[in-house]
């Protein structure tokens, strides 16, 4: 091959790199391992972390994933293809994405869906930017953001949108209901607001008054952006039907649809909207079309929104989607159907209710927020939450998320979740262990009124 090139050595091929810059060694990088050796290393590390029983939700949920999902998803043809730039050679991915979009439309009640964004949090950031562009009535870049939105999502939104001078106005939550009381909006009536964000269920698992919130937004010239759990949507009113006119944009984390917990990623963000806003939607979109013979086919469309063509005027800089995760999600939804999703959602709801009732039977443990909730709930402990959770973890049980960092006002509150995968024995074991741990630690704080 060098002969064909007319070079003496491979090294010669790098002769345009200034010699002074050339690197000689990569000393800090370990020597190569064989597949077997790296397998042993990874095996040890995977084992090291144990597989504690998980009662944490908080944006990532331990649902059952049918075996077929990943056996099909990892087929080389899906796994090792790239963005379907050559539509004719990518009808597999393209038709699947079109089906995905159709399923998301069915689930959310919106008109259109894109082919996914990075994750739920960044999808919300994109939804906010999109709302600012799409809301022709509003000249402001003000967004009302309830405190019941996932704290990490709120941070991500801030980090992404603040460079474009979008202003995020935090809405407080109702301390007894754990929801955004629509009356807090009165303070903003008549102001120029680009959009109102509405989580359903919210971070506490609590159901929001989505109809009232959506209608308020529309009455005040703002767009309504739903942030939803797609599995919950199998049971809950879809954003497209919120209030009189439905939400304008909705987004969320797709993980509950077939993505393993996997330390937080890869998951995928979904983004849907009303037809009228489709040209403001960022990310890949697949359209149905025809070939020269009039046969149905699928292709990337509305590319004029994207950076490849639009460059600095694109709707976003996003280039990849989370294609593989969406492949899994599509197969997942096809396998479960709405009946299956509803059953999984209902079982999760039931398990969480059961968990909460067993935990709150323990003296001193109380459930906050009495409003209807989905499969996540806030409970308050009669002992230091962090220390209780550590003790439980030592028993290979993740008892919930400590809320003290983001909601110190709630005291020793934790957010718990029991999906359909948690068995009655696991729930019993949690209750028993919690009781013991509280007894042991309770000496210190027992009887104290939790700080408010």
């Amino acid at each position: 091959m060098l002969a064909a090139i007319g070079a003496q050595s491979i090294d010669e091929l790098f002769d345009e790199i200034p010699a002074s810059l050339r690197l000689s060694q990569l000393d800090a990088i370990p020597a190569a391992l064989s597949e077997m050796e790296v397998g042993q290393l990874m095996g040890r590390r995977a084992q090291q972390d144990g597989q504690p029983v998980c009662f944490i939700g908080a944006g990532a949920y331990d649902h059952h994933i049918p075996a077929a999902v990943w056996q099909i998803t990892t087929r080389g043809e899906y796994y090792t293809a790239y963005t379907p730039y050559q539509a004719e050679a990518s009808q597999g991915t393209l038709q699947l994405l079109y089906e995905y979009q159709s399923m998301m439309v069915a689930l959310t009640g919106m008109d259109v869906s894109n082919a996914s964004l990075y994750d739920g949090a960044s999808a919300l950031a994109e939804a906010v930017l999109m709302a600012v562009r799409a809301n022709r009535k509003s000249k402001s870049k003000r967004i009302l953001m309830p405190k019941t939105v996932h704290p990490a999502y709120r941070r991500v939104v801030r980090n992404i949108v603040h460079n474009q001078e979008v202003e995020l106005v935090e809405l407080p939550y109702d301390p007894s209901g754990g929801h955004t009381d629509p009356s807090v909006l009165e303070a903003y009536a008549g102001e120029d607001i680009a959009a109102l964000v509405i989580p359903q269920p919210n971070f506490f698992g609590v159901l929001e008054e989505v109809d009232a919130l959506t209608d308020w937004a529309h009455a005040n010239g703002a767009l309504a952006i739903g942030v939803v759990n797609p599995l919950a949507l199998s049971l809950l009113t879809p954003p497209g039907e919120w209030g009189e006119k439905g939400a304008d944009i909705c987004c969320g984390e797709g993980q509950p649809l077939g993505a393993p917990l996997s330390s937080g990623g890869p998951y995928f963000g979904f983004l849907c909207c009303k037809q009228s806003h489709v040209r403001q939607m960022p990310g890949r979109i697949i359209g149905r079309t025809e070939d020269l013979d009039g046969r149905v086919g699928y292709t990337l469309t509305l590319q004029a929104r994207e950076q490849h063509i639009r460059r600095s005027k694109a709707t976003s800089n996003i280039c990849t989607n989370q294609g593989l995760m969406v492949t899994a999600a599509t197969i997942h939804m096809a396998l479960l159907g709405s009946e299956g999703l509803e059953r999984a959602a209902a079982a999760s709801y039931q398990n969480t209710s059961q968990l909460v009732s067993q935990l709150t039977a323990i003296e001193g443990v109380e459930s906050l927020f009495q409003r209807p909730a989905f499969h996540e709930r806030v409970i308050r402990l009669p002992a230091e939450a962090g220390s209780v959770l550590r003790s439980l973890a030592a028993h290979s049980l993740l008892g919930g998320l400590d809320l003290s960092r983001d909601y110190p006002e709630l005291g020793d509150a934790i957010l718990v979740c029991a999906t359909e995968k948690r068995t009655a024995e696991e729930i019993d074991a949690y209750a028993q262990k919690l009781q013991r741990v509280i007894q042991l630690q309770g000496g210190v704080k027992c009887g104290l009124v939790p700080k408010e």
């Binding site: 991915t93 460059r311 009946e339 079982a347």
Partner: protein, 484 residues
């Protein structure tokens, strides 16, 4: 046929969900949906057969040569998939405590160190979810840096005209104006033009080197000096890192911040469009701004660095730690490659590209930069053929599909007319490269003897050439019961 069209009311993959339906009547009716979502109702077998068959309509690395320039479609070792999917790793909750995360965190930490070494940067954060998010993180750090110094006048990011579209789009997302820098006739950045525009408004420059023109910018030191002297910072778009792995480090070239596309250089699968991963590395002065979370080592223990630990951080860009599973795949890949393997990646990808370039030139194709070495990729332009034969780049691309090869990147970079950006990667063998070259020659012959054959291509795929205009004009983005 769509999966929806196979749906029959009441059909189900019954074992996949709980066998019974729990009672949810305690949720007030006002919150509950009135009609079930119209998802397909099919059996497990129908779903498996449908998606198995559908997959076969894709080209992919596992089935075809896929020389898509700038995308580094190289072989994805299967071990990366199985080892990142070990039950203990797959089931780890992102909020699991550090006590139950040491194994996982060790992998991230090691990967940070490997990327640091290979790029020559001071510190690395793994969390950006893709190249474009890495770019965002990078430019946001540049902005945070200037802001922290009270240097508020810097409102422009310079971007060469050859740049990938994500570069200008990112600059805008970070609140900057974009100023394009032209490319010289030799493919290097036009240094004089750069010198002319650089100044107190310059926040920084975004460069890809080797550039997307398939050449290594020889004046990189002068460029760095020019920008730095003006108080700007240098951003390195690491999409082409494959070409220089173990050969030259962006840190050495003078860059202040770099993103890497792990789904390219570190061979994590492209997944039909993602997920990728876009870690960022920075020079000393940008360390405080790195996105969180990161992993640090404290004694024998790995600890998370989050917002609390890094108050000046640009923060997190996804809810958790980015595309963790992708990072694990990259880590496995990096360990198998090791110190010895990294330079080989650059060597063989460069060898393959230069070989193809020369052979294609010999076969009658025009190189965009005939006097330059190819890096890991190179550009040919079909301008002459388009003019003389009326067969354009798109026609060549589509016809290649009939020959069983995925087309190279077409019409990018925008400044080279009728171009094909060809990146063979290091994992392809010579016989495959020869097959592609032969196909190109054959198509050239066809373009002369039977141009219509080429213009109508593809002929052997599941569909013939698709009507993109119709797709955009008569938007049909979702199936509804009425579609069928």
């Amino acid at each position: 046929m769509l999966i929806f069209e196979q749906s029959r009311a009441g059909r189900q993959a019954s074992a996949q969900a709980p066998l019974e339906r729990a009672d949810v009547s305690a949720i007030p009716e006002q919150f509950r949906r009135r009609r079930s979502a119209a998802l397909p109702e099919v059996s497990e077998m129908q779903a498996v057969r449908h998606y198995t068959r559908l997959s076969r309509k894709n080209f992919s690395i596992d089935t075809q040569f896929y020389p898509l320039g700038s995308c580094t479609m190289k072989y994805n070792p299967r071990a990366c998939n199985s080892l990142a999917s070990l039950p203990g790793l797959l089931s780890r909750h992102p909020e699991a405590p550090e006590s139950h995360s040491q194994g996982f965190m060790a992998c991230l930490y090691d990967l940070q160190e490997i990327l640091r070494e290979v790029t020559g940067m001071k510190a690395v954060s793994l969390s950006p979810a893709a190249g474009a998010q890495g770019e965002f993180a990078g430019v946001a750090m540049i902005r945070a840096y200037h802001d922290a110094r009270g240097d508020h006048e810097r409102s422009e990011i310079l971007v060469p005209d050859a740049a990938h579209g994500t570069n200008p789009a990112t600059a805008v997302m970070c609140g900057y104006k974009v100023r394009e820098i032209p490319t010289g006739a030799d493919g290097d950045v036009d240094l004089e033009a750069l010198q002319a525009v650089v100044g107190p408004h310059t926040a920084g420059i975004m460069l890809t080197n080797p550039s997307t023109l398939g050449v290594f910018d020889r004046k990189i030191e002068a460029i760095a000096k020019t920008v730095h002297d003006a108080g700007g910072l240098l951003y390195y778009d690491g999409a082409n890192l494959n070409a220089i792995l173990g050969k030259v480090r962006p840190g050495t070239m003078g860059f202040d911040v770099i993103h890497m596309n792990l789904h390219k250089t570190f061979s994590t699968p492209h997944g039909g469009g993602g997920p990728g991963a876009g870690p960022v590395g920075v020079s000393e002065r940008l360390v405080p701004y790195l996105p969180v979370p990161m992993v640090a080592k404290s004694g024998d223990e790995y600890v998370w660095l989050t917002e609390e630990d890094c108050p000046e951080s640009i923060g997190r860009l996804t809810a958790f730690a980015g595309n963790a599973g992708v990072l694990l795949r990259a880590y496995v890949y990096a360990r198998m490659l090791g110190r010895e393997g990294m330079p080989r990646v650059a060597e063989y990808s460069t060898l393959n590209a230069n070989y193809m370039l020369k052979r294609l030139q010999a076969a009658g194709f025009d190189a965009a930069y005939p006097d330059r070495r190819a890096t890991h990729e190179f550009i040919i332009t079909l301008k002459r053929q388009a003019k003389e034969l009326g067969v354009n780049t798109m026609d060549f691309a589509k016809r290649l599909l009939d020959y069983g090869f995925h087309a190279p990147t077409t019409y990018f970079p925008l400044l080279v007319p009728e171009c094909l950006l060809i990146e063979p990667t290091e994992t392809e063998d010579k016989e495959t490269l020869d097959g592609f070259i032969q196909a190109m020659s054959d198509i050239l012959a066809e373009a002369q003897s039977d141009p219509e054959q080429v213009r109508q291509a593809p002929h052997t795929l599941p569909v013939k050439r698709l009507d993109d205009v119709k797709a955009a004009r008569e938007l049909d983005l979702a199936w509804t019961p009425e579609t069928t």
